[in-house]
Amino acid sequence: MTLLMPEQTVDPFGIVGTFPAKFKRAASSTVNIDLIAGEIHDVLVAWEEMTASPVHSPATLHSGSGTPKTEVRLRYPSTPVEAVEYVRGLLGVSQDAVLAAVGVAQRTFFGWKKTPSSRPRAASLGRLWLMVEALTHLQGSHPNLAAWIHSNPDAYRAFEAGQVNRLVQLEMEWVVRHEPAHTPHAPRFGDLGDGLAVSEDVVTQEAEETNIPAPSVPTLRSTPRGRTRLPR
């Protein structure tokens, strides 16, 4: 989260005014610029004339060839239009694929873009924010979410069908297989319409095979580093 909180100029020697380039400035009230529309964020940052924490925090990864690659961490969206771009960027899929997966009509989406100040009806948002919340949590624990979803046919089918809980459950299974030291907690997104019962059966079967107790009431808690922890 990025907060703009410039403090007032401290002038213990009372010499403001002798430096032409400096002026005394009162502190301004803190604004979380991650919670406002992107273009408003850009305007406020420009007006504040200060360097905020970078919106994009590049981290260096190495590809198979050893060539360093830069991963750009996407800023959490604050509007439905940004949310679509956020999902598209996280998973490396097309805009059309995102809209189809979350159940938002293309015409509706273009209406949002045309009138940025409009407030979309809740019914028109489909599963958009559910998907955003789920992917944000998954991104915190998965080294490369886009690579995983494109290399895992079950995960991609779950995404295409908008089955958020199924997607999360598949990711849990991946983490259990690859990081057995962590205990999984599954997030509850309140979505019971996409086969959660089936997921529980699958989890139970998997638990029996791997001698891991099946989770009863899944909850999600993130560590300060933003990584999800799965129940033991």
């Binding site: 301004s28 803190t30 919670l35 406002i36 992107g38 406020l44 007006w47 924010w129």
Partner: protein
């Protein structure tokens, strides 16, 4: 919290700085990008424990704010000395609570409480009430007792489909705040930004930032006008709930009065100011829908004739 306990306007409904304005009016057609209420305490801690933040979270309701995540705040301070101006940067660890779509968030830092919303309805329900609840829980959980600064900030965005250039806003913004939009080069302006700092009394002040900017992705180009109002009081005092609430209420009245000074009277009328009924009358909380042409509303817009 919108008004005094008795429902009768009191001294805290009077805007600071001798400003006259719309202390009891809602504007129906503004778009608030962000409304922020902030209280800063005197303190030296660098981190707010998860346990303390969780107590506040549980008190507010985990269903209301299902998002609970850590946050880091970077503070930049410029200290001027004979050796020059030295910027100092330090970080504070805290927590953010938010509703499911993140339109409203509560930020808890070791010595700062911030309530921010994009879904602003009216002060009492969108900021005043939530802030009071958070402060009660926060001071109990942390022991914070001395207030350093109170602040209220409104980032208002004005839009119009016909705003094909910044000059469009010339007739909607009063000349002192519109800068180059009034004058011989208005037709050449592609962007404008102005910042005004005001001293309202010995410890209260305001900063008004305003300007036009090109909207992203619009073809042909379209320009919005942003009015960023920050009203604050910087005065060290012992935290007392009622006093804090009253002072914040007065900052709200002041912010609205300032907003009325930025916009032209005609444009202000287009934003459909609606009189707010007093709390002891039926239907409190729902603004009565009066047209702009209504005599009582027209009287409210006249300079110096509106009285809280």
């Amino acid at each position: 919290m919108e008004q005094s306990v008795s429902g009768i306007p009191d001294e805290w409904d009077v805007p600071l700085g001798g400003l006259e304005g719309l202390a009891r009016v809602l504007l129906e057609r503004t778009h608030v990008e962000a409304a922020v209420a902030e209280v800063r305490f005197v303190g030296g801690q660098r981190e707010l424990s998860e346990a303390a933040a969780a107590r506040v979270w549980e008190g507010l309701g985990t269903e209301t704010y299902p998002v609970f995540e850590p946050s880091t705040q970077t503070i930049m301070t410029v200290t001027i000395s004979p050796a020059g101006a030295e910027p100092v940067q330090e970080s504070q660890q805290g927590w953010m609570l938010a509703n499911s779509d993140r339109t409203t968030a509560v930020t808890l830092l070791p010595s700062v409480v911030v309530v921010q919303t994009r879904d602003y309805q009216r002060y009492s329900t969108s900021l005043g009430g939530p802030l009071a609840k958070v402060l009660a829980l926060f001071t109990e959980a942390t022991g914070a007792s001395r207030v350093q600064r109170l602040g209220l900030r409104y980032v208002n965005r004005l839009t119009d489909p016909a705003a094909s250039s910044p000059a469009f806003w010339r007739d909607h913004i009063r000349e002192p705040f519109a800068g180059a939009l009034h004058g011989p080069v208005a037709h050449l302006v592609t962007g404008v930004h102005q910042q005004v700092q005001l001293q309202l009394d010995e410890t209260a002040g305001a900063r008004v930032q305003s300007g036009a900017f090109e909207e992203q992705g619009t073809v042909p180009p379209r320009y919005s006008y942003l009015v960023d109002l920050d009203v604050f009081r910087e005065q060290a005092s012992t935290f007392e709930r009622t006093l804090c609430a009253n002072q914040m209420r007065q900052l709200n009245r002041t912010a609205l009065a300032l907003f009325a000074k930025v916009l032209s009277r005609q444009y202000l009328a287009e934003l459909r100011p609606v009189a707010v009924p007093p709390s002891d009358t039926p239907g409190y909380g729902f603004a009565s829908r009066k047209s702009v042409g209504d005599e009582s509303t027209e009287n409210a817009l006249k300079e110096g004739e509106f009285r809280p």
